[in-house]
Symmetry: D3
Subunit: 135 residues, 6 copies
C-alpha cells in the first residue's frame, strides 16, 4: 500500500541555451531567443514526489519537514538566484534545458531515498511549460 | 480505450497529529506544531480520478454529476467543517495525516466503482503539500 | 532515460451534449442542462504531454516551439471559437463530451510523433472537471 | 471601519459578439472570430465584492452563505449553461461582451444591498481576460 | 509617485464561530456548521500590500525580505498551527471571522509602517472566500 | 459608467539588483543574493488594466486584441528573453526592481491611451511577490 507525497518548492535562476561547439548562427537557429548571450531567466517551480509505504507509527510516507529541508539543501541552495550556466557545476558541460535540470535535480535527490521510495520530479519552467522525470 | 476523468471538491477541517500512546514530548519531537492539543486546520482540496472505458451511448466514463454527488455524500458530509480526530470515526485510532486521509477517502469511494473503473485520489493539505493514492 | 514535457494551450468553444436518436426528454434525463439546444460553452485548457528520450545534441525531448505550433495547427485552428457540434467534423457523429474531445485531440496529434515518443493529453473542461487520455 | 468580502462563483455559457444592424463583414471586421454565427463559449468565473461595516454581533459584513445563494439565484440560474444572446433577456438588445455582462450582473445584484454596502463585480471571461465594475 | 508592493504568506489554523452569550441553537442558526464546538480549520492565504514612494537609492518601496520577516514575526508566529479562539489573545473576546482576522492582522502590522506607507491586507479563508481591509 | 478591463501577458528575463556607485559589499548588504553579478531571472507575469467608458457601438472598453498587440509590441518585444540590465535601455541607469519595471511599463503604455482611459499595471515578479502602479 503505497502513497505518493508531493512537496512544492521554487527557485529563480538565469540561464541560456547554447552549445559551445556550435556557431552563434547554429545556436540561434535551434535555440532562438533562448540562446541570448546575455541570458534570460525563470521562476522555476519544483514539485518533488515520493511514493512509498506509510510508516504505521507516524502515518507519514516521509516527514514533509524533512523533505522540505532536503530540497532546500540540495536544490535551492545550489540553484536559487544563480546563473545555471556559469555557477552550477552540473551544467558546465550540459545545456540547462528544463529536461536536463529535472534530471540533475532527480540525481541530486535520489541518494537520499531508500529502495522502497520511488522518486520523481516535476519542474515548471514557466506556468505553461513543464517537465517530469522519474528515473 | 480508457480515459481518466477527474473531479475537484473541497472540505475544511480541524485536526492534530499525535499518538495517544506517546508522551507530549515524543509527539512534539515527531509532529512539531502539528501536535498542538488545541488543533489547527486546513482547506483540503480533493481530486477524485476515475479511469475507465467511455460509455458509447453517453460519451461519459462516468456522469460528473453522479461523481460530484458521490463525493458530497461519502466525503464532504463526513468531513466538512469537522474535527477529524474527534468527529470522524475512521480516525478514532488512525492519525489523520494527509496520507491516511487519502487512504480513508479511497476506501470510502472504492465500493461505488466497478472492476473496469480504476479509482485514485489526490488530496491537497495545503497548496504546497499533497498526496496521491490509487489503491 | 525518458523525460515527459508538457505544454499548455487553450481554446474557447460552444457545445451541447445530446443524441439525435434520443427524444428531447431522454436527452434531458441523461445530459440535463448540458443538452440545452441553444448550446453553452467552455474555456478548454489543454495540456499535451510527450514522453521521450532527451536529444543529446539539444537537451530537448521536443522543441517546445514546435509543440506549440503543432497544437495551434491541429487543435486551436480547428476548435477555437467554434461550435464543436456544428463546425468540427470529428463531432458530426460523436458527442463532444470532454472524454471524446480528449480522444479526438489525441488522434489528431498522434501521427506527428514517432514510436519513441509517448503522447498523452489532459483537457480541462472547467477548472473543476478534467480528463486525461494516453491512447 | 469597512471591510470588503469577496465570493467566487462560476457559470458556463455560449455567446457571440455581433450587431444585428451591421453586415456580416462589418461584424467580422470588428469582432473577428467572436462573431461566429454558430457561437462559442466560456467558463465565466465571477467574483462579487461587498464593502461594508462589520456587524458587531456576528463579525460578518455579510453572511457568505447568503451571498452565495444570492449569486446562485440572480446570476447562475439565469446564465449557467445558457446561450446569452438567445436565452438571457438582458442581452436581447445588448452585445454580451464581458464588459456588458459585468454591468448586467451588477445591476441584478445591486438592489439586494443597502446604502452602506458598496458592490463591485469582477468577471473572468478567460483566465487571461477579465473585467471589473463598481457602478 | 507611489507603487503598491504585495507579498503573499500563509498560515493554517483552527477556529469556530460562536458567541458565548448565545445559546447553542442561536449559534447554529447564525453560524451553521461554522459553530461546530469541536472546531474546523483553514489554510489562510494572506497578502500584505504596502503603497508608498519608491526609495530612489534602492528602487524599493520596501525590501520584500523585511516585509516577509515582519509578516512571519507578527502573523505567522502568532497564528500558524494555532486554534484562533483558544490560543490567540486578540480573539478571546472577538469572533474570528475572516473579517475580524483581517482587521487584527492590519492592526498588528500597522505600527511598523510610516505615514507615507499605506497598508492593506487581503485574507483568503478558502480559495473561494476572501476579505480585504485597508484601515 | 466606467468598467476596467484587464489583460494578462508574460515575459521571461534576467536581471540583477545593484548600484554601480556602491561597492560589492554595499550591494550585498542591501540586495543580498539579488545582487549576484552573474544575474538570476524571473517569469514576469503582467496584468494591464484599462478603466474607461464602454463604447456603445461595440460593447468594448478597448478591443482585447488591440490591447494584447500593444503589450506585445511595447513590452514583450522589448523585455522578453532579455537581460534587463544589459539590453533594455530604460534600465541602463535605473535598478530593475519590480517597482521600477512596473513604472517603466506604465510609461511605455501610457501614451497609447486617451484621457478617458485610466491605465494601471500589476507585475508579478514571482507568484509570491507583485507590485501595482497606476501613475
Amino acid at each position: 500500500m503505497k502513497v505518493t507525497v508531493s512537496r512544492k518548492a521554487h527557485f529563480n535562476a538565469a540561464h541560456r541555451l547554447f552549445r559551445k561547439d556550435w556557431t552563434a548562427s547554429q545556436n540561434n537557429e535551434i535555440f532562438g531567443k533562448c540562446a541570448n548571450p546575455h541570458y534570460h531567466g525563470h521562476n522555476y517551480e519544483l514539485i518533488v514526489h515520493v511514493k512509498g509505504p506509510i510508516d504505521p507509527q507516524t502515518g507519514y510516507v516521509i516527514d514533509m519537514k524533512v523533505l522540505k529541508d532536503l530540497i532546500k539543501e540540495e536544490v535551492e541552495e545550489r540553484m536559487d538566484h544563480k546563473n545555471l550556466n556559469e555557477e552550477v557545476a552540473e551544467f558546465s558541460n550540459l545545456i540547462p534545458t528544463a529536461e536536463n535540470i529535472a534530471v540533475v535535480i532527480y540525481d541530486l535527490l535520489k541518494p537520499h531515498f531508500n529502495e522502497n521510495q520511488e522518486l520523481s520530479v516535476t519542474l515548471y519552467e514557466t506556468p505553461r511549460n513543464y517537465v517530469s522525470y522519474s528515473g
